[in-house]
Symmetry: C2
């Protein structure tokens, strides 16, 4: 028997107005992130394309100068719950903050989503980078390092709560009237530095055992958190060498946490701009970039770099800046690229406007498949987090053009093999580890 070729994993990053800041301005593009039918269409396309998961970011404040989908948006977990009812296979990943939420609440929401979807939930555990959120929660925004210390404990508590119920704790025996086997429902008794949580959770163990954990932080503590807890890592990289180095660095961390490098899928984010010819693709990108409005771009860039960039000359060099306290990963990647390529500040804001600092790839379905294959086989990725510049067209082009190319090369599945997200990712159902007898 021929050994099966290693397969890519694909996620799609859903923003109702497209990932490109001005994607919504294209004729025919969706222009709202508050429209269920748009989200449903994206989800159907993701299932047609046999994607592992679709994925929603989140933020806890609104800035009218930011990306349109970051300003007026569905709350992610409600949106995914709605999609759970109208999809059957695709994984459903949402961001929830460890900085401005309670572990009991987050554990419930994702456990509930996992039950509602028949085992397709994933939690992107983030630390909230923007200090704007603090003002909506009446708190001081904690510094970067402490946010990660809180996040580590937060994740431990959530995973502990997910383990409170044994699989067969719900008996529902009509004859005897025994509904629950109380001996199989465990408290957590967590008393930590930041949280005290008694448990048990008020929902039974999930179809997946535990929902999948996603992670996207690229700073040192973010990488350490990913190595310790994540099943899938979304990385922010701009070229192959950098991606290879980041991939190797993360995989090397895993054994230190008693984990196998194969247990974590690393998916670089990439915005594909697709044409029938290379020229057509470049024209499309130029067309999108021509829509960029400098206020938005400057606001997004300032946000990514953690400081007001309006004081610097637009056509001068990118200044030498310290890493911000907000979002280390994006800033490091973008500043490195700017230095490498001798960019002006205008170049950098155009890059930010396009894909918020993610890699942009421009070409035909075949040339894009070539590049993805090179990265996938070249030790830089276990798959990709696709950021269509606009919906629905920009995603249709990937699913109808690039996915068949990947399938032809034996790099991507031709059918789902199971119904759960863990099935798509090749992850086994985790055994219960936490919880002590009540």
């Amino acid at each position: 028997m021929r050994q099966e070729q290693r397969q890519m994993h694909l996620g799609v990053f859903v923003l109702g107005t497209g990932n490109h800041v001005a994607g919504w301005r294209l004729p025919g593009a969706a222009d709202s992130f508050q429209n269920l039918s748009v989200a449903q269409q994206i989800a159907r396309t993701a299932e047609r394309g046999l994607f592992d998961l679709l994925f929603l970011g989140d933020g806890l404040s609104a800035d009218p100068n930011a990306h349109p989908s970051f300003t007026a948006r569905f709350e992610p977990i409600t949106m995914l719950a709605a999609l759970a009812a109208t999809t059957t296979h695709v994984g459903l990943g949402a961001t929830a903050s460890t900085t401005y939420a309670e572990p009991y609440t987050v554990a419930r929401l994702f456990a509930s989503l996992d039950h509602l979807s028949g085992g397709r939930a994933a939690w992107n555990a983030v630390t909230t980078s923007g200090g704007q959120a603090a003002a909506n929660f009446g708190r001081q925004h904690p510094p970067h390092g402490q946010r990660y210390e809180v996040a580590e404990e937060f994740i431990d508590v959530v995973r502990g709560l997910w383990d409170c119920w044994e699989d067969d704790a719900i008996v529902a025996d009509r004859k005897t009237g025994r509904y629950i086997d109380a001996a199989k429902v465990h408290k957590l008794h967590h008393k930590g530095r930041f949280f005290e949580v008694e448990g048990p959770l008020n929902i039974g163990r999930c179809p997946q055992g535990q929902p999948v954990i996603l992670q996207a932080g690229a700073s040192e503590p973010g990488q350490e958190m990913a190595a310790r807890s994540a099943d899938v890592v979304f990385s922010v990289v701009q070229d192959l060498d950098e991606a290879r180095a980041a991939y190797a660095a993360l995989k090397e961390r895993l054994p230190r946490h008693g984990r196998d490098p194969g247990e974590v899928a690393v998916l670089p984010g990439v915005m594909p701009v697709i044409g029938r010819t290379q020229e057509e693709a470049l024209e499309k990108l130029d067309h999108l970039q021509s829509f960029v409005n400098s206020t938005n771009a400057l606001s997004m860039l300032s946000n990514r770099l953690g400081q007001d960039m309006s004081a610097y000359p637009m056509d001068g060099p990118v200044p030498d800046l310290p890493l911000p306290d907000t979002s280390h990963g994006f800033a490091r990647t973008m500043l490195a690229k700017a230095r490498r390529e001798g960019m002006t500040l205008r170049d950098l804001y155009n890059l930010t406007a396009a894909a918020r600092g993610h890699w942009v790839i421009c070409g035909t379905p075949a040339s894009i498949a070539d590049t993805l294959e090179e990265w996938f086989l070249g030790g830089a990725a276990d798959g990709f987090n696709i950021l269509p510049p606009y919906f629905p067209g920009g995603f249709d082009e990937f699913v109808d053009g690039v996915v068949p190319e990947l399938q032809r090369r034996g790099l991507f599945r031709r059918a789902y093999r199971g119904r759960k997200l863990r099935d798509h990712l090749g992850l086994s159902r985790p055994a219960r580890q936490h919880g002590t007898p009540t």
Copy 2:
């Protein structure tokens, strides 16, 4: 033109294992509150019955001795979001705590549900009565009075956040590239005793303007909160005189808050046990009561009365107890009924097991319609919150038996007149009141 008769409003209280503590033990009854297809079936039945809304309670802890649906349950807002995608008319009401959540989070969740459902969201704003929740959130449980002070401010903040966006703030002008009219997005600048929330919310104004507010607290501060903020009140009453008095008392409070008595619908909770004959109905109730297990019943009663009742003799009189700090309304209603009817403790726990202290009505569709009509026309109710003892059968019997009786009498709609919950309730879309210019 004949003046149109005043119409009842109907809600259904959804618990996957039925409202009767042992309803799940009946052959054919659903036995899980973690099953989306059961919830979808209930929602379809609610729409077939032209109900105003379906409604979910909530709790923030799990007690294996409590009602099965209070122990292992869907998180309500995710469950309603899933139902939003598979229903078209019925209102979707969920409970969310003002004691253990953040107003920014709650405002987002319900605004998101309102957008997802096309204007069908309702928030049951509760103070969390059980101190068990405190241990899951690492906090001291605040005393009854303070919980209501927090709740009042919490509701104000949520309503203020819902008003941050003007209806036409999202412009999405493809030509000019202007996505948002920032002058129409307002901050809240709330600095209160318990909360500081800057705003704006990160989702546009809701299809309903504001989601509907439900309220169920029967204590003095609960009634005051209802009079100030609620659109629908779920009341707990056991007989007609008591219901009339409670109805009148609430309606009298409204003008003091500048509101018209017609603006608030009072819906007493009622568990209908339906037979083709009165005897059959009584047999059915006896059959259900025979399933009651004394541990559950005692635990539920102790919870409702706020103290451990296991020390008192089962067949002795109901002791004279002070009102608890947990849940005033239920305790007052139940203790009054016990005194009125000279109940033993066993009688009281049987009553609690049946409907957790709610009114139980047993009869044929016609006799039940008679009673509901008497209450509705007799100044005791604007409609009812139906608590089927088991699903799906116990709800089907009401929708297929009692609803047509009510329609024949001209007391209940024969078709929905709109798509939004406010349409069903006859409530206008509220004007924006809150928010100051950014």
